[in-house]
Amino acid sequence: MLGYVVRRLLHAVLVLFGVTVITFALQSLVASGPKLAREIIGPKSTSGQIKAFEAEYGLDHPLVVQYLHFLGQLIRGNLGYSYKLNVSVDSLLREDLPKDVLLVGTALVVAVLVAIPVGVSQAVHRNKAVDYLGTGVSFVLYSMPSYWLALLLIELLAVTYHVFPAEAPQGSTLGQVLSDPRALVLPVADLALVNFALFSRYMRSAAIENLAADYIRTARSKGLSERAVRYRHLLRNSLSAVVTLVGLSLPAVLTAGLVVEYVFNFPGIGLAYYNAAVSSDYPVELGITVVVGVATVAGNLLADLGYALLDPRVRYGRQER
């Protein structure tokens, strides 16, 4: 197990290194030289001004040097300096990330808490009305762009019936965002519904698989009540699939987060990324992409380790990969 953990960690570091290389290369590929400078400081800037700009951001060095500098700063926790906002990218992220943890975290918890009972009851009543209803709902939710779902929620609950505000709570700190919990309902609900569709589907499949397993038959034949079988045996064993899924779904959730933040004007990193993208603020884009990449790799790592811990049948000893 320890060997597996070490190998998995090394693998994660390697992947992260690759992520920085590719995102950096991608950025330099599309924006560099005087063209980049003119985009940022104005189309009529003089060659002197361009030189000064390039010197300020270290753009006058060869690409490899720029990359090594970026990597060195990244390891120290510096993500560069915004072209437009007069703040460093890491202070921007420090301000926004807690709000994203709040939004994404709450949505994930809600989605899992709803998906587990729904998935299990679908599996128990397989091919009955409940199952078909659940399948239909999750397919439609899964196939729906998250912004369209958001618009429907806004139209119904904010425009027609004034139950919740249409805009997410505003403010730069976590406290300010939390001060208006009613305004958080719609963005969280939107993100939770999209993920619920996926989680309930997986929960259903995992529960169906476990229902056919021998230990369920044993539990039933030794006279346990159906209730005990379901909650003590079935639920627990089906949970591992969802636990790992939550880890793996992190990039998808963050991606959906970008759209949700845009629709509800939620002041998180998704919206920051969007604003950076429309204003050619490349350091911010690069920094956020790398951070989301790190979150993705960490999520995968936790999912794999969690899976190995939760499911004793998984042996990672001499497995060929």
């Binding site: 196939s143 762009p145 991606t255 992409t289």
Partner: protein, 318 residues
């Protein structure tokens, strides 16, 4: 838009839909079988006749294709010259679904938008599947260091958030459908690559592959003649889901304003324009495009699900 997490992309975590029917002691990467005669097509036909949702999906998809490609020949509308005198008209006899903020007929625009969605979806599925299958088959068959390097590259690309890449590239290039096919494929080839590598790992130990190797068959020949045809079912299932995902991606990008610019029409772009009039109650600018997206994507997902039931032996009820 939500990238499918483990729709059979061959990672250690179970894809419950697969695991669901797998025998508890079943092998991890088993489940490839030879394509024999008409077997594959008869099992597809069988699955569709017994699965009503899939049948509905196919019917809806045929209707949508006819609507998008034959519709404009029958229902002719002006979709290039804006006429503000006709802006924001509610549904009427002349405009069954009303007009948008620049006076374009919504029904006619739906046809155009559907065309770009389908072109993108099918283009991505074709390109990404081709690249992914070859990549996965070569990695799986070669094994060793080549395999490691090729698959680590896949892992790296998987760790870069796709929507962020799309948004980033779309701000730099002017997106056209052709370019978007390339860009979306850049991300979409990863899951077939993993999937097909898994299949290849089990195929390469089969007798007929061993025999070809022993007889001195060239690497390329083994890949193209023996591995790739036998991953056909996995390929088809995956490609179907890719069409659905690509359509969602296009809808999202267009909504965010990074889709193909006017005069091109997309469903996501129509929605995005319609949102400006949400508070005015111009429902016909928001619902038709949204419903079209959901209907198309749901249908592709239904069909993909049924194909998987039919073609993946792991998912056959025992």
């Amino acid at each position: 838009m939500q990238p499918d997490l483990a729709r059979g992309d061959g990672r250690a975590t179970p894809d419950p839909d697969h695991v669901a029917a797998e025998e508890p002691s079943g092998g991890a990467t088993g489940g490839t079988r030879q394509v024999g005669g008409g077997g594959i097509f008869s099992s597809i036909a069988g699955a569709f006749s017994s699965n009503r949702l899939a049948l509905v999906g196919v019917v809806v998809l045929v209707a949508i294709v006819l609507f998008c490609f034959v519709g404009p020949l029958v229902y002719r509308t002006n979709q290039t010259v804006a006429d503000l005198a006709l802006a924001n008209l509610p549904p009427s006899r002349a405009h069954p679904l009303g007009t948008d903020g620049t006076g374009f007929d919504i029904l006619g625009r739906l046809m155009l938008g559907g065309r770009s969605s389908l072109e993108l979806g099918l283009g991505v599925a074709a390109l990404a599947t081709t690249v992914g299958v070859v990549w996965g088959a070569v990695a799986g068959l070669a094994g060793g260091a080549v395999d490691s390097v090729m698959m680590r590259l896949v892992d790296i690309f998987l760790a870069i958030p796709p929507l962020f890449v799309f948004v980033y590239l779309a701000t730099v290039f002017t997106p056209t459908i052709g370019l978007l096919i390339l860009v979306v494929s850049l991300v979409s080839w990863l899951s077939p690559a993993r999937l097909i590598r898994g299949e290849t790992l089990s195929l390469r130990s089969r007798e007929y592959v061993q025999a070809t190797r022993a007889a001195g068959g060239r690497f390329a020949r083994i890949v193209l003649r023996h591995i790739v045809p036998n991953t056909f079912s996995a390929m088809v299932v995956n490609a179907t889901f890719q069409v659905a995902d690509a359509i969602l991606i296009l809808a999202t990008l267009s909504f965010l304003g990074f889709g193909p610019p006017a005069p091109a029409a997309t469903w996501g772009g129509m929605l995005s324009n319609g949102v400006n009039f949400l508070y005015d109650g111009y429902w016909w600018q928001v619902y038709p495009a949204g419903i079209a997206i959901v209907m198309t994507v749901v249908s592709f997902n239904f069909v993909g699900d049924a194909l998987r039931d039919a073609l993946d032996p792991r998912f056959q009820r025992r």
